[in-house]
Amino acid sequence: MAKGITRRDLLKLIGGSAVGLMLTPIPWKVLDETAKWSQNWSWTPVPRNGKVNFKHTTCYLCPMSCGARVRCVEDQPVSLMGIPNHPISGGGLCAIGLGGHLLPYHPSRLLQPHRVARENGRIKIVPISREESLSAVTEAILSSKQGSIAILDGQPKRAISFAYRKFLAGLTNGVYIVPPIDAGVPAELTLRVLGERNLSIGFDMENTRTILSFGAPVLDGWGTLGQFSKIVRNRTGNNKLKVIQVESIHSRTAQLADQWVPVKPGTEAAFALAIANVLINEKLCDAQKLRTHSTDFDNGSGHSFLDLAEKFSPASVAERSGISEDKIVGIARELVSQPGADASPARKKPSLVAFGGATFSRDEQIIFMDLNILLGAIGTKGGLIPRTELPDPIGGRLTEETPLTDVPDHSVRVLILDGAESGTLFPWQMLEQKFVPNSPVVVSLSPYFSGIALHADYLIPSPSYLESCNDSPTPAGAPTASYSISTPILPAPKTVVEPLDVIRRISAATHSNSGNEIQPLKELFKNRIEKIFKQRRGFVFDASTGETVKLTTIYSSGQLMKILSDGGCWYDKEFGVRSSEFGVLYSFLGRDNHGFEKLLAAADHHLGDSGLVLLPYAANVGQSHQLMTKVYRESNLREPGNEASINPETANKLELIDGGSAVVKTGNGISKVKVKFDRGIMPGAIQVAVGPIVTGYAETGEQNILEVCKISNDSTWRITKAEIFPA
């Protein structure tokens, strides 16, 4: 007779199930599966697999025209690398170029036009439609007849630059502005030493013996990547290239140079003239030749270059600059020395003087260039060599290129910032003082809300890197002319606006018609390439084969266009580098009478010893991509824009703490910084990089120290009196 089911029975049932469970796959399988599940969180991305293929393009994040090979998976770029054997880049790509494929997804990237609202010191961007943005710009232009319409072109001499100039020429009050950043040797200086307008100057650094650099980042990225690589590699082995870095800043180049000459801020030109003084007095230059090849080297007027150099003896400059007289004389002698006492003329390599264009005034630059003339570096192998200019792709009437310093104050009413990616290395103040007092309007065409775009009123973004067409004309400092183009690799979103569409719209609204005649960019490239093809000179590099051939072997300009559209490049042969018997009339002081006084004043500029000096310096330029955290925060290899480097001696006197917060105060404002002790910094100097603050996943912060720098009368901003307090 069965009993009822008791609790004990139930427990036995459960017990049996438990034992049975152990003998089934259930617990083991569930454990296994759960372990796998816990390692595959949905938010850890899984890279998409697929067909791999390679495309080529030319990087245009800066003007140096490096070739880039794009590795794509299912047509999505996943990495960039240099193109081996590329004649301009030498096969490399810089830290910014290597992460360029991330830029279309950068948090600061704009996908449609915006209006910028500023309230209570906060910036807010409000999305608006394409139509709204274009109407707003045309309205601003038509609203008043006062003031000019200006375009600031970040990378002049591109095809689109010519388009801008043509458009502006059709307006009654158009101005085309080129920024005061290092774009190689300015045209005016070129005219002085080469005497011709259609040439520009390149640096034949491969064959140089010693580079005397005034602030130029020779070992940190100067000239093309190929040139930079050669400079670095030529510093080892026999007959090595020497770098003498003259600057107050403990820059990367100063850290690596063979000799760092930390002159007191402002005394660079005086130092250069002291060198000139030694060269002249110790007969280390060919004074006779210089007399016959110029009207103002030594003309007995008491106001010639010779007289200028006399005023800057090494002894007097030693005190001003903080560099001993012996050192100055030693450097001058070094510049003309050759390996081996009787080196044959063929083995002789000249020295040359390089200078970082952005931070020096025009007059100081004249002095540096004059030193080059003295060294016989003009038109010689290993020195400054002439290059042809690229053909004009558009023809017709074009507005002149106006350097920013020449634009009259309070004259610009509407400023269009072209979206060139080369970054902002000059203070916004310099632009601000050019605006008319009542309601100027600033429009940014940049695809990113960064750099000077932060000051804009309207943002009309162009397609981002890898999504647009662009051309790369001859880079500053390259030894020959060159040309390459880039075509889109990714499709651009439909909501962004081509810059030429903005131009055409303004043109239509102002009834100027100059914009309507502008062809699409690709056509402009085609025109330029046709003209280059017709010249039948130079060489062509084909990225897909890695080979360089003579242009004469290319059978049509269509074929040339095809090669250049796929990451190739054209470069000129060297433009008849003549011997030092360069038949030109050098101009040392300028044809106007003020040359002498101006240069005297420029060279005499130096700061007294009182107080601290804020020295801004440029770190990496360009729109920084997210992976720059590796270089800025995760390894502090580079100083970010909110870090102030100070000599420990100076810092201790001011009671600053290494790694602590501080406030830098100048006559122009204050800036919050983090303090970093660095034994290499000149005592009394506060060094702050003009660089990004790469904060994290979501932002690349911008804190631009240039905002608090003082712009001096000669339009430079490299020296600002400052104070620093612990925060």
Binding site: L13, G20, E33
Partner: protein
Amino acid sequence: MADHGKVMFFLGAAVILAFGWVVFPYVIYKPVNQPIQFSHFTHTSDNVGLKCENCHTFDKDGRFDGIPKIEKCRSCHLKPLGISGDEEKLERNYINPGLEIPWVIYSKQPQNVFFSHATHVKLAGIDCQTCHFGQAYTRSLRPAYFSRISGYSIDIFGKDLLDFPSTPSSGMRMADCSSCHHRQGVKESCIDCHK
């Protein structure tokens, strides 16, 4: 007097065992059907005579292309070649609009595994059927089964719930690959198969 305790015990065990061995294997895996019932047999039989490598190609760098793209199908099926409803579906939904067929992949290894078809097929000379047994002669595509918990395919983690290492044709776990490597005398190292 019946001992209810023992009965209950064995009843419990029996129920769980039955559940664990019979029901559980079906419950834990979720079937997913292929978008088109493709018949390998039609394509590989003597009429058409295609070989594996005609559609499942390698590129010049040795990467295995895997399941062919729609271009491959289009190269023959631009116009219907037969009368099946599936071919009609192929034309209508994929070839004409130019869309890729969303095939469900049976043997996709997890992210951390690197498998080189080139090494096994070209260098070791292993026949496709050794690991993809019978696939070439199927007349329809079986549904793919994915674990409801981890999402892994049953082809990878083994149809054999006992987890004993078996041949690659019934599972492609590390132990399965290793067992074949041991038989062939292939030395192993982490970096050869992981990424």
